[in-house]
């Protein structure tokens, strides 16, 4: 396998509703990533795009619809999709191409425009459920996350106030992110007193729906050494999908994520992730998910993530900063673009380009992770200087 580098990153603002079309947002993020890499579209051998359900846009060939904006015209072009895990899966699918020698330079684009669907993007998620056994009950996406959150709280005796600390941290971190949609200084009390949506999930436990795009450029070692003094290497990738029979699994622990992480750790020769990962961007569409994912990634023992959070370990100036970007809770959640935002953040942090968001300790190795569908997808990328 050839070594694969990230050589540039770009993104748009994340907002509830943007004037730009999906194509236009994909173009802006792609252009910015190519500019940072000092490359032009003619240098790009191949393009991989990620975007979540077609139902948001109401366009049933979304990959092709977005093609021109993602720079894919008349190139080997692929759209990949694993639900909310897509954003971190797009660079994995691009990595295959560079690692195998199929391509030297791949443009990697995550795009999501959720706002077109009326009355609310939430409605599209109704169609991920089993049509015979679940939809007749009136199921909403929020049910399954509140059910998972409640199970996690029960098994590990986790309090709502401990979970709220994640929302407080991430929304505050996002104050320093120029793309952020929901950056704020809030308190644990604000979270606990926010309107219940699907208890134990309350308004401030949840990330928003968003429009946005983010992109990175991957290059082979030869190309990377030629165009930059500062490549960031992808040293591990992993992905795993558990059973769709989600009512037959114990939701207290994400086994599939442990498997995805171990796949990436093996590749990156990591035996003690808690010591060897310097910081991580883990998927946080809900605040409890950050804790759940830290445990699945084995950055904390089972049930230990709330304690690390309380002790400040996961703050930007802590021993193991988690979501220094501000995460989905603070920056926003345009699904595939949100995962790609995390990839971009790890890249910028490792290059020391994160400005006010830069974590305090020196960092050499970071991890980005995403999650999705019926609480069953884990995608993991490890990057190093």
């Amino acid at each position: 396998m050839r070594r694969v580098a990230v050589v540039g990153a770009g993104m748009t603002l994340f907002r509830h509703r943007m004037l730009e079309t999906g194509k236009e947002m994909a173009f802006e993020a792609s252009r910015m990533a190519l500019d940072q890499a000092g490359l032009d579209i003619k240098d790009v051998d191949s393009v991989v795009l990620g975007s979540a359900p077609d139902a948001f846009d109401g366009v049933h060939m979304k990959g092709e619809y977005l093609l021109d904006g993602a720079g894919g015209t008349c190139k080997p072009y692929t759209r990949v999709y694993v639900g909310g895990g897509t954003g971190v899966f797009v660079p994995i699918a691009a990595w295959w191409q560079v690692a195998s020698g199929v391509a030297d330079i791949v443009l990697v684009v995550g795009e999501e425009k959720m706002s077109p669907l009326l009355p609310h993007p939430q409605y599209a998620f109704w169609s991920i459920f089993d049509p015979i056994l679940e939809r007749p009950l009136g199921v909403t996406l929020l049910w399954i996350f509140s059910l998972e959150m409640r199970r996690y709280m029960h098994v590990y005796n986790v309090k709502e106030e401990d979970i709220a600390l994640v929302a407080v941290k991430n929304k505050r971190n996002a104050l320093d992110h120029p793309a952020a949609q929901l950056a704020a200084n809030i308190t644990v009390d604000d979270v606990l007193k926010s309107e219940p949506i699907c208890w134990p999930v309350k308004r401030l436990d949840v990330s928003p729906t968003s429009d946005g795009a983010a992109a990175v450029v991957l290059a082979s070692e030869d190309v990377a050494r030629r165009i930059t003094d500062d490549p960031v290497w992808i040293t591990g990738v992993g992905w795993n999908v558990d059973s769709t029979y989600w009512t037959n699994r114990d939701l207290c622990y994400p086994e599939y994520l442990e498997k995805a992480a171990n796949m990436a750790y093996r590749m990156a020769h990591i035996s003690d992730p808690k010591k060897e990962i310097d910081f991580a961007e883990v998927y946080d569409p809900f605040d409890y998910k950050e804790l759940h994912h830290m445990e699945g990634l084995q950055l904390a023992r089972r049930g230990e993530a709330p304690k690390l959070t309380r002790e400040g370990v996961t703050q930007r100036d802590g021993d193991l900063p988690i979501n220094p970007s501000g995460g989905l809770l603070g920056v926003g959640n345009p699904i595939a673009a949100a995962g790609m935002m995390k990839i971009a953040e790890v890249f910028w942090q490792l290059r020391g380009e994160a400005g006010k968001r830069q974590v305090k300790k020196p960092v050499r190795r970071g991890l980005a992770q995403a999650w999705g569908d019926l609480m069953q997808v884990g995608t993991v990328v490890i990057m190093e200087r």
Binding site: E28, E134, L137, W143, R150, R151, P178, L251, E353
Partner: protein
């Protein structure tokens, strides 16, 4: 990235959207579907019509699968036989929904739960709703029992079970 103070993108404020100050086009589409229940779930639905909960057994791993499937996804072989299980179980997890699936508010909160069904393999169950109980009285591991629609109102659907109610008083 920091050198670039303003990222690309033009946010549309709520008031601009409400007043339709920019160009867009609205369209509604109605899609109609008829989903086949499949060989295993059809049997399950027939069972519900008779007031019974049915699983399928895999004779290799010996799991009793609820909801039933035609194949065991672990052993990756066809399942072997129907098994009637009880219409009681315990709450694996639950939550209290204040919203509908289009994000609008419900008139009255709904308690939803994953019920582990008695005599199915451990941890096996399905999604349903709870009734005859206040949210504050529900707890994980609570024993519950199915409340069925009257026989002549049952049509072979998951909603033939009206809800699950606590067994304990």
């Amino acid at each position: 990235m920091e050198s670039k103070k303003t990222l690309p993108g033009t946010p549309i404020a709520g008031a601009e959207w409400d007043n339709e100050v920019y160009s867009f086009r609205k369209h509604s589409v109605q899609l109609r579907y008829a989903w086949d229940a499949g060989s295993a779930v059809s049997g399950f639905l027939e069972g519900l019509k008779e007031g019974r909960i049915l699983g399928r057994r895999c004779n290799r791993c010996m799991r009793v699968l609820v909801p039933p499937r035609a194949f065991c996804e672990r052993c990756f072989r066809s399942t072997d036989e129907w098994v009637e299980v009880k219409d009681t179980g315990k709450i694996n997890t639950y939550s209290v929904s204040y919203v509908n699936n289009d994000a609008s508010r419900r008139d009255k909160p709904l308690i939803v739960a994953v019920i582990e069904i008695d005599e199915a393999s451990p941890g096996m169950g399905f999604l349903h709703v709870l009734g005859e109980v206040e949210p504050s009285k529900v707890h994980v591991d609570m024993k519950v029992k199915a409340v069925w629609k009257p026989r002549d109102e049952r049509v072979g659907a998951i909603t033939d079970i009206k809800y699950f109610k606590p067994l304990e008083v």
